[in-house]
């Protein structure tokens, strides 16, 4: 089977999950006890506003019609109106989406650049002092809450030594990078324990694999051995770990964006929950679901590109 068929098959597999997410998000808002309109607008809302909202949400329609309305709205990109911002949910989300995506992307890149070499060093020299230090630091940062780490980094590098900005996203490529450095380092430090530990274990396994031993008998230099026969296979392990932890990463971005006052989706969902802005919460939940599914799909495709056994049926 070639790549196109594989891609088509994976996309088809994803559709029911997407449908499930839409259904769950729809149901969740209607699970709240009480009159949704009153909950959203507050106790002091006028009857007129309540009636308007009920019509807009279609709350007096039978439930399956409500669902139909909901789905068709989604296809039109209509996610409702934010109660807090009094603007289209879609607009607000689209403004903030790039921030979150950039943050997560930059953090993943940094994590890979930092953790993979460390894991390789630790795996190659098992038991040495490098290995011990790496593992000790991992255990330490594992117990540290991300928000505390981030704040301490802020204190050290934005207050005591004012090297980095305290908050905000910035404008322009380098400015944004500068603003995102401390947040990305925080996420890397939080992800590092899991990533390094699992990767190190995978690499140790790979280093003892028969194909590595055989490659040695071919007379390959250590450098070529690592580059071609260890890293390539280890990269697949990295990808798997990252893919599995993507949900965790999204959860982490919520906290980090709050700590560093980044105008992203994570901070938005927190403020929306506090403000009971249900249309917004709904919209963000959908977008998050969509993001996770897309990232999983991309991970699968990347994996298939790296490992020829996957597309072969």
């Amino acid at each position: 089977m070639n790549t196109l068929t594989f891609l088509r098959r994976r996309v088809l597999q994803v559709l029911p999950v997407l449908a499930g997410i839409v259904l769950v998000v729809f149901m969740v808002v209607r699970l709240i006890p009480g009159d949704p309109a009153r909950i959203m607008l507050g106790i002091h809302a006028s009857e007129e506003r309540l009636a308007n909202l009920r019509t807009e949400l279609g709350l007096d329609l039978p439930i399956w019609q409500q669902f139909g309305l909901f789905v068709s709205n989604i296809f039109q990109g209509e996610l409702g109106t934010s109660l807090f911002y009094r603007r289209d949910v879609t607009d607000v989300i689209m403004e903030r989406l790039p921030v979150t995506v950039t943050l997560v992307g930059f953090s993943v890149l940094l994590s890979v650049l930092v953790c993979v070499p460390l894991a390789v060093a630790a795996a190659m020299r098992q038991g040495s002092w490098i290995d011990q230090i790496v593992r000790a630091i991992s255990t330490l940062t594992l117990s540290m809450p991300g928000f505390w780490l981030g704040l301490n980094l802020l204190i050290l590098f934005a207050v005591v030594y004012p090297f980095f900005p305290i908050s905000g996203f910035g404008r322009g490529f380098w400015d944004i990078l500068w603003h995102l450095t401390l947040p990305a380092i925080t996420i890397t430090l939080s992800l590092a324990p899991i990533l390094i530990r699992t990767l190190r274990a995978s690499l140790i396994e790979i280093l003892q694999a028969p194909h590595v031993e055989f490659a040695r008998t071919k007379g390959l230099s250590e450098r070529h051995l690592i580059q071609r026969h260890v890293l390539r296979n280890g990269l697949m392990a990295t990808l798997t770990i990252l893919g599995v932890n993507i949900g965790w990463l999204m959860g982490g971005s919520v906290v980090i964006e709050t700590v560093f006052s980044l105008p992203g989706l994570g901070a938005l969902i927190v403020s929306s929950i506090a403000a009971r802005d249900y249309p917004m919460i709904q919209g963000i939940a959908l977008i998050f679901g969509l993001l996770v599914i897309t990232i999983n799909l991309l991970t699968d495709l990347l994996y298939a590109a790296l490992d020829p056994r996957v597309t072969y049926e």
């Binding site: 694999a209 028969p210 040695r216 230099s221 390539r232 790296l306 020829p308 056994r309």
Partner: protein, 332 residues
Amino acid sequence: MAILDVHNLTTQIPTARGNLTVVDDVSFSVEQGECFGLVGESGSGKSMTVKSILGLVPAPGRVTAGSVHHGGHDLTKLPGPAMAAIRGRTIATIVQDAVSALNPVYRIGRQIAEPMLEHGLVRSRAEGRSRAIALMAKVGIPAPEKRVDDYPHQFSGGMCQRVVIATALSCDPGLILADEPTTALDVTIQDQILKLLVSLQHDLGLSLLLVTHDMGVVAQTCQRVAVMYAGQIVELVRTEDLFRKPRHPYTAGLLNCVPRLDGPARRLTPIPGAPPDLAAPPSGCRFHPRCPLAIDLCRSGTPALSEVAPGHFSRCIRQDALTADLWETADA
């Protein structure tokens, strides 16, 4: 002229229970164009001997004594890069599990050509690829031009072993170390691969060090053979002499375990007992606890490998008392 000269090779592995001497004072040589067999049970040290020759003993084990002469160098004294220059180039290796030996993410043409590129025998991937096709044809892989771009999972076990052999041949080595090349294969494929190895050896004038536990393989392919037990060589002689008249009780025991189609049917008797713990081997002759011929001197002395007949070496001081029915059980 010997292409490989092993003198008093000793390899030890430190463990929590003490130092395991997995290769103990092993000496033999492989002549040019010869097929030399190294035979023994699992744990006898034969694979470790091969690893020691290649300088690939897994840490924390290491070669602690002896020398391995090849191409004018002592391999045990060579630094890493110099040793890597020899591996795959003048000494090639064939492994037992060919399927696992191939990296699943690379095409096999590239894996066959890899040693050639590494040692500078070809200058480009394209050149390597065409040489790989030729090698695949030589080892009997059908339609090599089509299959050179396939991945290992698309090959059967026997085909993978042919790929491994092709890889070993790629740099025109003088010596091939084959560690149980047929053990993981079906019997019919085993036969094919063995015949392939023998014919390649003849055609290319290769020397072959064949490690195996199967006496039948030895009989089919090797001119001379060394029998290993508990890390030591206990007997070393021409193959036909070994089968005709073994001069060590262990060898006799091994031969006794092989069912024969000629002659009357008889009970197969395994050698009683188990191989010794290498951290605390028995005193004197390592085999004495299991040997029907053992006497006090076997326990106290240190029997050395000596020439007990022309070209026939044995470590047994009682080998003249060896009879054909040594291992027959009472009610056989």
